[in-house]
């Protein structure tokens, strides 16, 4: 679940193979493990992950820093 990918040092959530809303539930649950300002990497290959992560960031005041499916980077803002 939280393996660190070779290129990313920090919290990485591997949600590949999961259907939405599961990847969004995972990042919502785990983002508090990092401090405000830090990045979380999310790997998700469900076609809804891109739009839903962007919408979740908008609704929850977080920032989607990079969206390159299946890899996404979110910065914790609050």
């Amino acid at each position: 679940m939280s393996e660190t990918s070779p290129t990313f040092e920090g919290l990485s959530l591997d949600c590949r193979g999961m259907k939405c809303p599961r990847p969004i539930i995972e990042i919502a649950r785990r983002i508090r493990e990092v401090s405000v300002g830090a990045l979380v990497e999310l790997l998700a290959d469900d076609p809804a992950a891109g739009p839903d992560l962007a919408a979740w960031c908008r609704m929850r005041g977080q920032t989607l820093v990079a969206s390159d499916p299946p890899r996404f980077l979110v910065r914790r803002e609050s």
Partner: protein
């Protein structure tokens, strides 16, 4: 509350269908009495549609569905304009049948929309003016979120560029006054959207438009749609449309208020809900919202158990692996999606009950998946 993919037949339309089965069953091309009665009924139906959209009766064609009408409109404009080029311009939120027809034609440019679903008119103009544009396509109002497009402005841009416009009026026919709408070349609609039979699509082609049938035709409907028309269904469709045009205004006002109430109260009663679309400039009867952390299929089935039939644009609950292209293009949340379409008879009491059952259903699903 699932009128977004067809509302139950209005009683007057059902009665008209039965009556027409008695008297108008004949082949309208025949000279015998049943044939003449059928031809009369067909003419009346054309007149009703023509008056509603500001066209001439002989410009009205009846197809077999909304998808057929959209495909015929776009492919026919593309054939008529093939010397100019093969680019079809649509918005990113058009009906999937229009998007598929545009993609099949050659070059397809889907112009982006804003968060409420309105097309970006500057990008629209740039795409329409690009060399090789055969035709453009826009909706009066979106079929999922209800947002009305700036279709009059979009039509003007097309006229200036000398590019024919297909106006998809499916969600608007009978609800939005289109008698004065101008600047379109081909207009499409579908009887299922206004309480007529689901088997009747509407295609209106203005006389001076370079449209060529993109399929084999015969003598029926002036060589624009083949096969003997299903006159009882078409007649019934016209009666349904006439009901909306003549006495639907009060119904539309009531629907508009009920959707306003849903828009306001759902976000008060359920935390983390994303309500989509333009709150004001919209068709009266449609509402789409998405519930964070909730799976659309589960939500739809739970609401069904509670006595509410709703649609969903979420991937798992739609008929595809992909979420609604409309929601994705708008940047709206796609999971946990509920699409409500009020019908002629939806009452304030039903809305009260919906608002009462939704919060505990959502809370229960969220607690099951460990999200709150």
């Amino acid at each position: 509350m699932d009128s977004s993919s067809g509302e139950p037949m209005l009683p007057a339309a059902r009665q008209a269908w039965l009556d027409a089965q008695q008297a108008g069953w004949g082949d309208p091309a025949r000279l015998h009495r049943p044939g003449r009665l059928a031809a009369q009924a067909l003419d009346q139906a054309r007149e009703v549609v023509a008056a509603t959209v500001g066209a001439r009766p002989d410009e009205v064609i009846f197809t077999a569905s909304e998808a057929h009408a959209n495909q015929a409109a776009i492919a026919g404009l593309a054939v008529g304009r093939r010397r100019v080029g093969s680019r079809i311009v649509t918005t990113a939120v058009d009906h999937s049948s229009a998007l598929a027809a545009a993609a099949a034609t050659g070059y397809h440019t889907a112009v982006e929309v804003d968060h409420d679903g309105h097309v970006d008119l500057e990008r629209w103009a740039a795409a329409v003016h690009a060399p090789g544009t055969a035709a453009a396509c826009i909706q009066v109002a979106n079929h999922e979120v209800g947002t009305m497009q700036p279709y009059a402005d979009a039509a003007q841009i097309c006229q200036r560029a000398d590019v024919p416009l297909m106006l998809d009026a499916t969600s608007a026919l009978g609800r939005i006054d289109l008698a004065e709408a101008s600047g379109w070349s081909v207009l499409t609609g579908w009887a299922g959207a206004f309480g007529g039979p689901t088997s009747v699509g509407i295609l209106v082609i203005k006389k001076n438009v370079r449209w060529r049938a993109p399929y084999l035709t015969d003598d029926y409907q002036d060589g624009r749609w083949p096969g003997v028309p299903d006159v009882p269904a078409i007649y019934s469709a016209a009666v349904a449309l006439d009901c909306w045009v003549r006495s639907g205004r009060a119904v539309g006002d009531r629907q508009h208020d009920l959707v306003d109430r849903l828009r306001t109260e759902i976000v008060q009663r359920v935390p983390d809900v994303d309500v989509a679309g333009d709150p004001v400039r919209r068709v009266p009867h449609l509402l789409t919202f998405s519930v964070l952390y909730v799976d659309g299929e589960t939500l739809t089935l739970e609401l069904d158990q509670a006595g509410f039939a709703v649609a969903s644009g979420s991937a798992c609950s739609a008929s595809s692996e992909h979420p609604s292209h409309v929601l994705a293009a708008m940047g709206a949340l796609t999971h946990g999606n509920v699409r409500v379409g009020l019908t002629w008879t939806t009452s304030a009491e039903e809305i009260d009950r919906f608002l009462a059952v939704l919060p505990p259903i959502v809370a229960q699903i969220r607690s099951t998946v460990g999200a709150s």
